[in-house]
Amino acid sequence: MDEAPPAVAAAAARGAEDLAAPLYVAWQITNECNLACLHCIEESGPGKAFADELTPGEFRAVLDQMLEHEVPYLSFSGGEPMVHPHFFEMAEHFCAGRGNLKVETNGHYLTPANCERLERLGVKAVQVSIDGASKDTFNRMRVLGRFDAAVDGTRNLRAAGVPIEINFSPTHFNVHEIGAAVDLAYELGAYSFYSGRTMYTGNAVKTWRKIVPTEEQYAEFFATLRAKAEEYRGRMRVYFHEMGLLEELRYRLVHPAALVIVLPNGLVKLINALPFVCGDLRRQSLTEIWANFQRAWRDPRVAGFVDELAVDPRKTAGLHEWIHL
C-alpha cells in the first residue's frame, strides 16, 4: 500500500535515537567453530573461543535484560553457535520469553533431533551458510566443512518445519555458481536468500588474493542476483547488498540502525565493519549501553575512521583491534 494512514505514516521517519532500546541484537555467542573458513570475518575456528567468553549465568542475565526491554529480535551467531555447550539452554530462555530468535549456522549440527528441538522452540529462522552449489566450491571455502552436511542439515530443517534462510559469501572461485546456489536454496525450502560483498577482515586478510572476486565477476554476480530476485518474486526473497562497505558506513553515520553487535565476551560493537566498542554487558546495563551507542555514532573518531577508509580500504584489516568509545 503506497499511502499509509496517518497512524503509520506520522512516525515513519524516526531513527534509532528515538527508540528506548535496540530492535535487533546480533550476538556472536562464541568464537569457537568446527570450521576454519577462508573468508571468516571473525577469525573463528577450532580452538578459537575467546578466553573470556560470557558464563552461562552472565548470558542469562543479559537475555533477561533483553526480554525486559522487549528487544524483539535476536540472532545467535559465532563462530558456530551450535557448538556452544549451552546453546539450547540460552535459546530456550529467550524463546520462552516470547523473543524472536534467528540462528546463523554452518549447518553441520542440524541433526533431525536438533531441528525438531528448534521447531518446538519456535525460532524465527535458521540461516545456513551455503557458499556454492557444489562440493568443490563449498569444501574449498569452508575448510573442514562438508557440502553434504550443510545440505542434509538444511533438509532436516525443512522436514521439521523450521523457516530457512540461506547465506552466500562470494569468492572468485564460487561466484559462477550463484544462480545454481539460489536455485538450490529454493529447492531446499528457503524463504530468503542473502548475499553481498565479501569483506576484507578476519581470515580474509590472509586469504584475500585467493578469494577476492574481480569487479567483472561482481558485476556478473549481481546481475544474476537481480535476475534471480525477479524469477523467485513471490516465492523466495533474494536479498543482496550491492553497495560497497564505504557507502554503507557513510549511510550509517547519518542513519544508525537500531542494531547492536554483541561479542562473545559481552563487549558491544557499533557495527561489524567498524572497530568501535560502545559498552560492556558484563559491567553496564543495556539501557546505559544503548545511550552510549547513540553518542558513539556521533563521535568524531567514527566519522574519521570512515574517512580514512575511503583513502585506505584495507583499514578493515584491523577491525578486531577494538577501540573503546
Binding site: M1, A4, P5, P6, A7, V8, A10, A11, A12, R14, D18, L19, A20, A21, L23, Y24, E70, P72, Y73, R98, N100, K102, K124, A125, P163, Y191, S192, R237, A258
Partner: protein, 87 residues
C-alpha cells in the same frame, strides 16, 4: 485479529514500533496507532477497537472509526496482522 506470528510490537515514547522480523522491516506508529495495536495484542475484537478508543481520545470530527478501519486494513495488507482461526 491478532499480530502475525513473526511480528513484535513495542511501545515507545512517540507511540510504538511494529517489527516484522522475517522481512526485518520496521513500522513506526504514533500514539493513536500504538493504541490500536495494543488493543489487537490484548485480543480486542476488530469491531470493538474504535469504541474502546473513543473513551480515551477526543473525536470532534468523528473520524475515529474511519481512521481505525484504515489502519487495520493497512496492517492487514502488510501482513502485520492476521485473522484468528476459528476452532
Amino acid at each position: 485479529m491478532q499480530l502475525a506470528k513473526y511480528v513484535r510490537f513495542r511501545e515507545e515514547k512517540f507511540g510504538g514500533v511494529l517489527f516484522e522480523t522475517r522481512s526485518e522491516k520496521v513500522f513506526t506508529l504514533n500514539a493513536t496507532g500504538a493504541a490500536v495495536v495494543r488493543e489487537i495484542a490484548a485480543g480486542t475484537g476488530e469491531g470493538e477497537i474504535a469504541g474502546r478508543l473513543r473513551g480515551r481520545y477526543d473525536d470532534p470530527r468523528g473520524v475515529l472509526d474511519r481512521e481505525v478501519a484504515a489502519l487495520l486494513a493497512d496492517l492487514r495488507s502488510r501482513g502485520l496482522v492476521e485473522d484468528v482461526p476459528h476452532g
